[in-house]
Structures are given as structure tokens and as C-alpha cells.
Symmetry: C2
């Protein structure tokens, strides 16, 4: 793919010219080969370009801490989620990449480019260190959250024949396994599973896309993008202050979600405790598990369903988002209210079946994003919810809830879950630590 000089014109014009050209090198912030500066202003150019993106402290979410950012962080507006296959058997190469990823991720979350010293600092005869499309944009509350899939530890749905390539089998935490099959799903392996995931959330899609793209690029030879998904809108509100966003069914989504400020609830249902794993898997203490599901919605039939049916399926009113039988969004649903002997919140409604009272108290922290990936060739929008949930034990929280929903939830008729993944999300990083350090180093 590398063009020849003749095709690109590179050899024709890349040489120096002391008379007529302004320096392009000054734009790059480094001395070297290229057109020699012939006009004033080069210095100013260099200054403009070598400075990091607009640094607004309000736009930066801290990268390090007890837990990774992007979990209880107030949901940003946009998502780019990527799942990677690890394509090497070299533990050293994988560790090296994770170290480089960590440094670049921390810089990007500060609104800087991937590499120290500016985006374009490598000289004319090297590819730019950063792909550049986020130059001039703010940090946009970018968070980058890493997770490790079952395939890092041995055989998995993505690669049933995999060996324990990295000597990590004994360190696999209890709740890290591929999800079981659920009723009514049509899982497409080409956009499911994966050895490593990165969740990039930001208020600007270009910032999120830029981050994933540059991490993918830095991982060449070590990882390969297995699938990725963009999302927009916010379907989970982690603070009361924010109005609850609506999903593609037109209903508020996230009303009953776990809230970041309810730390007791978060500690109980989101963060992995020391007691959850044997000593070899203590690297997960303070972490969580990320469940990703691409849930296509059958938009057009839904839009032809009458209001009563829609509200009975959800168990809430469409306008206010109140539980049926109540008046306000944040009223607690009362599952005992009946009408002519039948419950007002139907037995098959989503709100009832997903409620903690119906699931032994189990809760999950949701962080879904709406998606519309154009049309499907049959005149229908390929739209729905990219569901992300964090829980302390996927097999004690998400899986049993989902078994109930997939079998009984009336909404299932309008849903086509077609991608599925479960990742172990390690805890946050101390200063100087790199992603996965506690997993790879004893």
C-alpha cells in the first residue's frame, strides 16, 4: 500500500528550497530534513501546533484512581467501543503494548496527543506520532476503560483452541467466562467476544474515535480490532441532576439505574471485593465486570404498536416515564396495584422483570448508548441500544436477570441481541502503574 515516490510526488518536492518555501518542519516542532524556512511566522506556527489541545480542566476526567474512569463517571454523550483479538503469543510484546497504551491513554484523556512532544514530532520521514484528527479539540471528558476477555487466559468462544499463551490461566478470576446462550438472541461472533476491550466515552465522537484509532494503531502486530461500535445519546444517567435520556423506543432509559453517589450500593453490586477471588486473582479487587450487548431494536414494528402496548411492555408511561399506576418518574413502582384483578404493571413488563425485587435484590450499573448504523438494506433502520453494564459478578447478577428477561419480557419480541461479550475490568491505576500490571506481575 505504501505509494512510490513518483505516485505520491514525495520525491519531487520534499527537498529543501532556501528561496521560496516556508518551513514545514517548524510546524513539526523538530529540526531535520525538509523545506528550509524562508518566511517569518514559522515559530508561531510551531507554537500553535505543538501545544496540546485546549486544556480546560473542566474537560478532563482523572485517568488514575482506585477504580478506572468510565464506570461511575457521569455518562458522556458519545461512545466508541472496541474489542481486540490478541494476535501474538509473546507475553513480552503484549506487556510492552500495554505500557505504551497506558501512557498514550493517560495523555489523550488530558486532551493531548498520543505521544510526548506533540503530534507531528517525528520528522518528515516518519509517520506522524498521532493521527491528528483530534488536534484543536478539547479533552471532551474522554475516559478510556480497559477490560480483559476470557481468551487472555485460555480457550474462549472467540478461540476455542487457544492455549494458555501468556501463563495466566491460574490467575483467571471466577466470574470471567463467556456469556451463556440466552433465549431469543442471534449472536454474531464477528461482533462478539474479544481478548481486550477499550471503552472510549467522550462528549465529542471525534475524540472517542481518535482514541480508539490511535490505540489500535499502536497495537499493530500485537492486537487486531475484532469489532467496534459507535454510540450516541445517553441512556444511563448516574446523577439525579441530569435528565434521563431516552432510548430508541422513545422511553426514558436509566431511571432506576444505580447512582454513583450511592456508594454503598456501588460497593455491593459493582466493585469486586477481596473475598470474591482466590489469592491468584486478587488483581481484580476493586475492579468490575463489563457486559456488552448489541441489542438491535425492531424499530418499525415498535412504531406501529399502540401506546397501551408500548407502555405495558415497558411498565412505565412514555411521556413522564412514571411506573404504571404512579405519577412521577422517580416514584417507586408498586407491583401490587391491580386493575380488575390483573396487575397494572404487567407480569411480562420490563420494569417488573428487571426490578431487584424480582431478582433477589441483584442490581447492575448500566451505561448504554443508542446506536443507528444506517439501514439494513430492507428499508429498516439498523438501530437500537448498545448495552453496557458493570457488575461485581456477571454470573450472579447480569446472567440470571437476563435469563429471566429473555424468557419472559414482552419486550423481547422487539429486540434482536446480536452481539455479546464479558470482560474483566481491573481496578484503577496508582501513579506509575500500567494497564494490567497487577495481572502480569505477581
Amino acid at each position: 500500500m505504501e505509494p512510490t515516490g513518483a505516485e505520491s510526488g514525495a520525491t519531487d518536492s520534499g527537498a529543501t528550497d532556501g528561496k521560496s518555501g516556508v518551513s514545514r518542519r517548524t510546524v513539526l516542532g523538530a529540526a531535520g530534513i525538509g523545506v528550509v524556512a524562508g518566511l517569518a511566522g514559522g515559530g508561531a506556527l510551531g507554537a500553535t501546533v505543538s501545544s496540546p489541545r485546549e486544556e480546560d480542566a473542566d474537560q478532563v476526567v482523572p485517568f488514575r484512581g482506585d477504580h478506572q474512569a468510565g464506570i461511575v463517571t457521569a455518562a458522556q454523550d458519545r461512545l466508541h467501543f472496541a474489542s481486540f483479538d490478541v494476535i501474538t503469543d509473546s507475553r513480552d510484546d503484549l506487556i510492552d503494548m500495554l505500557k505504551r497504551w497506558t501512557a498514550a491513554a493517560e495523555r489523550m484523556t488530558r486532551g493531548e496527543e498520543t505521544q510526548e512532544g506533540g503530534a507531528l514530532d517525528m520528522g518528515d520521514y516518519h509517520p506522524p506520532a498521532d493521527t491528528g484528527e483530534a488536534l484543536g479539540l478539547s479533552a471532551a471528558h474522554l475516559t478510556l476503560t480497559i477490560g480483559f476477555g476470557p481468551g487472555l487466559f485460555g480457550p474462549s468462544a472467540a478461540n476455542p483452541d487457544a492455549k494458555d499463551r501468556f501463563g495466566l490461566a491460574h490467575r483467571k478470576p471466577a466470574a470471567l467466562a463467556d456469556l451463556p446462550a440466552f433465549a431469543q438472541e442471534k449472536i454474531e461472533p464477528s461482533r462478539s467476544f474479544g481478548d481486550i476491550c477499550i471503552q472510549a466515552c467522550a462528549d465529542d465522537p471525534q475524540v472517542a474515535v481518535h482514541a480508539i484509532r490511535n490505540l489500535a494503531r499502536m497495537g499493530v502486530g500485537v492486537v487486531s480490532v475484532r469489532w467496534s461500535q459507535l454510540g450516541f445519546g445517553r441512556t444511563a444517567s448516574t446523577t439525579q441532576a441530569q435528565q434521563t435520556p431516552r432510548n430508541m423506543f422513545g422511553f426514558k432509559d436509566g431511571t432506576a439505574n444505580i447512582r454513583a453517589e450511592d456508594t454503598d450500593v456501588v460497593d455491593k453490586w459493582v466493585w469486586v471485593g477481596a473475598e470474591d477471588n482466590p489469592p491468584a486473582a486478587q488483581w481484580m479487587t476493586g475492579g468490575t465486570y463489563l457486559v456488552a450487548r448489541r441489542i438491535r431494536m425492531d424499530i418499525e414494528p415498535w412504531d406501529r404498536a399502540n401506546l397501551l402496548e408500548q407502555e405495558n411492555i415497558i411498565g412505565r408511561t412514555k411521556g413522564e416515564g412514571a411506573p404504571l399506576g404512579k405519577s412521577a418518574e422517580f416514584d417507586e413502582p408498586d407491583f401490587k396495584i391491580t386493575s380488575y384483578g390483573a396487575p397494572i404493571i404487567p407480569a411480562t413488563s420490563h420494569v417488573r422483570l428487571a426490578h431487584p425485587d424480582q431478582n433477589g435484590g441483584a442490581q447492575i450499573l448500566r451505561r448504554g448508548y443508542n446506536f443507528t448504523d444506517g439501514s439494513d438494506g430492507f428499508g429498516h433502520l439498523d438501530a437500537g441500544l448498545f448495552f453496557i453494564a458493570f457488575n461485581r459478578d456477571t454470573f450472579k447478577q447480569f446472567v440470571p436477570i437476563q435469563h429471566v428477561l429473555s424468557r419472559k419480557d414482552a419486550m423481547t419480541e422487539y429486540l434482536i441481541p446480536n452481539a455479546s461479550a464479558n470482560f474483566a475490568v481491573p481496578p484503577g491505576l496508582k501513579p506509575g502503574e500500567w494497564w494490567g500490571q497487577r495481572l502480569f506481575e505477581k
Copy 2:
């Protein structure tokens, strides 16, 4: 696909209950069957829901005027573009839909729902008049721009066997035809062409998606979505005030675009004049032609190209965006500057080949959006530029420029244009007029 009552639970709980339930009907703003109000607060709910979305005059772009909005309007942040096949032969049905579309489009651009009287006003036993996912969102500068494809007037690439279904053949304007084949393109018919297009631009993707979805829904039986495309970021800046956005190559894109305030240039190169068409096609006077091209970029090879090659291909510096040999973004390129006898702006550079000086003065008004549609299954991002351009005569402006670019532009090696369309965009609407009225009514 319509679920039975038993599956949805609708028949179990839809009846009235005078004792325990609050009214859901009050939320809907109409009397009728349902749970009878039993608590205070229903009125307040109804008021909340029946009010239009947050009305901020700053967020509304006028729908009517001499020209359609969304052409010289300052580019909004997000795009949902849809192309429709007309699936009926009934002229009356098509006109009826265009009238209903016009009324709904005007309301949506004001930040209101599709139908007068509120989104959920149709009663329990009707589907809601609006799908609801934009409730609570602002107008977000929504513009909806309609275009008519060659297929409305007879045979076209999309349907070579089509007849003149609507008696419009004699009214076809001169510059409305499918685009010719260009070198190096890989056009996919399933996401090209179309009888009608709607360009929805807004600062919130959910607002743009909502508009397309509701128009598609209102068109059931008359049109079917042929393809649609989301875009993000702004690659065309129509005012100097705005910083020029960057494309997925990491370069500023739109520096030399036509600016809305240069009305002489816009009049000359964008708006169709009376002299451009015979009397039967005067309905296009004040309109323009919209060219849409989905240009996938070969992101990963590009990211491995060195800086010199990238800049020589573009003809501008990556950081500042200055023409090679100049120092500032808005400096005029000087194609005569040489270095060791070769032009500093190479003969194969995009800036040189696309420049009006190289194209008999021809200019086009670009309005592209970046896209990333996940990954392609081979580890590569399916990303690039959804190119939209407006011009007074596609076959005198876009087509000759594109023939030159597709044959000579070094950038072509990194581009995979895979969708293509040309639409006639009629002028703006006077008060009371509907989309296409001047075309369908003599």
C-alpha cells in the same frame, strides 16, 4: 409482528381502575379509555409532556425561505442522511406524503414533535404520533433538506426499467442524472442512488436520527429507506469564525470551501438560475444539486505513511493546514513555487487538482461529515468522509473536477468511494407551500 394481547400483557392490565391508579391518559393529553386518574398531579404531567421540546430561539433554523436550509446554513455537528425509493406509482399518494412530510419537518425544525397536539396524543389504542426519543431535546439547529433523484422522472441507475410513473419526465432538469463512473471507485448500489433524499443536520445526533425515522415512518407504503448514513464532526466550515474541522486523515478539511457570506460566489456556483432550464423545469430556479459520495478512507495504510508523503498528497501542512510553501491556513496556494525545479505543491496533490484555477474556475460548496461505521471484520475501521457537495450544475462542476481527481489525485490510493448519488434540490418554500409543490403543480 404485531404482538397479541397475551404476549404483550396489554389485555391484562389496560382496563380502568378507579381506586389505585393514576391516570396515564392525562400524560397523553386526551380523554379516553385507560386507567382512571386517582392521584393529583396528572394535570401537571400532561402539561409537561404536551409542551414542545425546549424552545430556544437560538436553536431554531428557519424552515422556509428563498432557499432550503441546510445548504449555506453553518454546518451543524451531526448528520443523518437518508435516501428513499418511492415504492408506489400513485402520484396522489406521493403528493399526500410530501404534504404531510412538509408539515412534520417544519414542526421538527422548531423543536416540536411530528404531529400537532403533542407526541402522545393519539390515545391508548393508537401508536403514538411521534416516536418520542427527541422529547426533552432542543431543536439543535435541525435542518431538513429534500432532494429528488432521477428515478422520479423515469429510468435511473436504481431502477433502469422504471417508467415515467408520475408524469414528470418533461419536467426533469438538465443536470439531474446519475453520476457517471469514475476511476478507482467501488460503488455499491445498495447504498447509492435513490428517488428522494433527506439530509438531516443537527447538533445532536438523536435529533437528526429522530427526524429521519419519523419521516420514514410517515412514508410507509409510499417510500422505503434505500440507505442511510450517519456522520459526525464538521468537515466544512462556512464561516471564517469557526475553526476548520479535521477529516479522518487528520488534516483540516474545508479551508478553501465556498463561504456563505460570499453571496456572489454562492449565486454563481450554487443556486440554479432561470437561464439554466427550459420553462418546464423552472421549478428548480433557486435550487441546487446535491452530490453524495461515501468515501471510505484506507485509514491504516494512511497512518503508516510518513508525514512528507501525507503533506505532499494533500498539498498542505498537517499542523497548520497552510498550503505548502506558505505559512498560514488561509494563505492562497502558490502553485508556481518550486524546489529544485519541482513544484512544492506537487502535480498530484489534492489542493492543486481540486483548485478552481485547475478547473476552469469551477467551485462547489462542500458539506462533508466524518463517519466511522465500526470495523470491517478485517481489523480495519470502516471510516472516512461522507462527502456532500452542492453545485449549480453537477455535470459542469462536480463531475469534471472528480474526473480529474479520480485519475490524477495521489490521495486516490487511500480512498475507496463506495456510494454515489445526485439529487435535484428544489428552492425554499414560501409560507403554505409543500415540498415539491412547484414540481408537481404546474
